[in-house]
Symmetry: C2
């Protein structure tokens, strides 16, 4: 049993209708629904202290939850931040710097810290990030509305965060300590940008039938949409957007496609809808990568005319 199966099991067993999207959607008032989401980041599973800085980690802790709000087309409002911190880091003022990085991103998006917890741990650093947001009542974009014939889009190039992770694994640290943005792959991995502006734009203009953020990887996240919507998908290798440096870093087309399809953590948005309407509204701002099919639960991949079925190869915790 992996984590997705565990969540599916308790969802069925206890009839948990709010579980299974980027955020839960709850009634708030006459104008807006409340969006809520939590993400836990654990040292040596989700990050390594030697590969990042306190400030970058603070940024990323908030960014991953903001990305969930973006994926519903929402606007973030408040956040809770819980940190379990080893005593060695406490003494090094780690928490002050961590919170500075968190706050810098929060201020950009008007997010207020509303609470949380700070606790000592005898083990690894652990962070739980909760964000609350809003969408006008009934307009949250879920994973379950994709229809056969819809086109499939992503909001930006993929594979960069995974390429950055490879560089970190290889010992590259350029820009980590001084925030040098010339290290774009490292920053794609360490300082991801939540796509709140385009997410809210897509929602306001009713362009998407379904949306998700790419956190587990394109193949896994597209598979989530297909399962929730009861449809299939066909994507094309030639249409996948990536930056040329990802190709250079990967070294081969196969390795590059692996990063783009399965890398995860790009935090771009993946959405479905009418090709005509999206082309008219967003033009070349977004990238069409395929279309929704009737092959329920199946993600197919067309590479130079040869079609294979993808197993969701995104990052899994188990």
């Amino acid at each position: 049993m992996n984590e997705f199966e565990f969540i599916e099991n308790i969802k069925k067993k206890y009839d948990l209708g709010l579980i299974g999207d980027d955020c839960a959607v709850l009634p708030q008032n006459a104008e807006n629904d409340l969006l809520i989401t939590s993400d836990m980041l654990i040292e040596d599973i989700d990050f390594r202290l030697e590969w990042t800085s306190a400030e970058l980690l603070g940024h990323k802790s908030l960014a991953v939850s903001l990305s969930d709000i973006a994926a519903m087309g929402g606007e973030p409002k408040w956040a809770l931040l819980s940190v379990g911190i080893p005593e060695t880091l406490w003494n090094a003022k780690f928490l002050d710097r961590f919170y500075e990085g968190w706050h810098e991103l929060a201020a950009v998006h008007g997010v207020t810290l509303a609470g949380g917890d700070v606790s000592r741990t005898s083990a690894k650093l652990v962070i739980d990030s909760t964000v609350g947001g809003e969408v006008p009542t009934g307009t949250a974009i879920t994973r379950s509305g994709a229809r056969v014939g819809d086109s499939i889009y992503v909001t930006g190039p993929l594979g960069g965060a995974a390429a950055g992770l490879r560089l970190l694994e290889a010992g590259v640290r350029r820009g980590v300590d001084d925030g040098d943005e010339r290290a774009p792959f490292l920053m794609k991995q360490l300082k991801p940008k939540p796509q709140l502006v385009v997410g809210a734009d897509i929602r306001r203009r009713s362009l998407a039938t379904a949306m998700i953020d790419i956190s587990d990887g394109l193949s896994a996240d597209l598979s989530h949409i297909c399962r929730s919507s009861g449809v299939g998908a066909l994507i094309s290798a030639n249409d996948l957007p990536f930056e040329s440096e990802v190709m250079n870093s990967a070294g081969s087309i196969d390795a590059m496609l692996h990063l783009v399809l399965n890398g995860g953590e790009d935090f771009e948005l993946l959405f479905t809808g009418s090709q005509e309407r999206i082309l008219e509204a967003l033009g070349s701002e977004v990238f069409r990568i395929g279309e929704i099919t009737e092959n329920v639960g199946t993600v197919e991949f067309n590479r130079d005319g040869k079609v294979e079925t993808l197993s969701p190869g995104g990052y899994r915790h188990f």
Copy 2:
């Protein structure tokens, strides 16, 4: 610097007005305010796996957050549950049993699981529990309304959870695996009961000027009320409620008073208000332990006519 000081520092530095009570209070709609709270529980800091069961830990993870809702006079509505779990526990179906204990308490109070996260960890088990609740607009009971001359009350006997912790430290495990409620101290430590009914009753009848739950310990939590309200407090040893078994377990009056004053985790409510009105409304359901004074920030303790100043000796993470 301890955790309270860190939180005070960032609260001042970043002007975080929502921080510093049991829950944050946010506007929700014309009828109700939204309450939100988070608590992080870390293995070997907040609990030990050999002293509890998966089901009891699930119960307690939710109970501590429900207690924060109770302390504002609120009603809980939804929850987020994030768990970082070592692979060894995953294989033992720990998470299924943990969630059963969580759900049993959630069902009693009509709380819906709205989301969360499940992640592997290479280290200790960690749980972050978030609960959202409601109070009628403007009626949340904060820590900051205590006035000189108010009486101070607790909703139940104190020291039981700390006495239970001592038994666990001494190797007693009676009732842990079979949930035998004849082990009352152990269950006070392992299966605390959030005081939601009396908390909401106090709020509906406008009986409290300030309220907090006793999680850190009476002396520390009363000190939180004094600091937030800009007042002092005088409590009397002879008025402190405790069960006779706490005295037996402690072995001396000094040791017993230490458990009652500093033990923590009783999750009773501590509140202030008019003696006349509270006596009339609640009678002997609650225990008057002292009164609010003008000695700002000072908690005084009257033991047989000798008055000393208490340092907040509750449990601190650092």
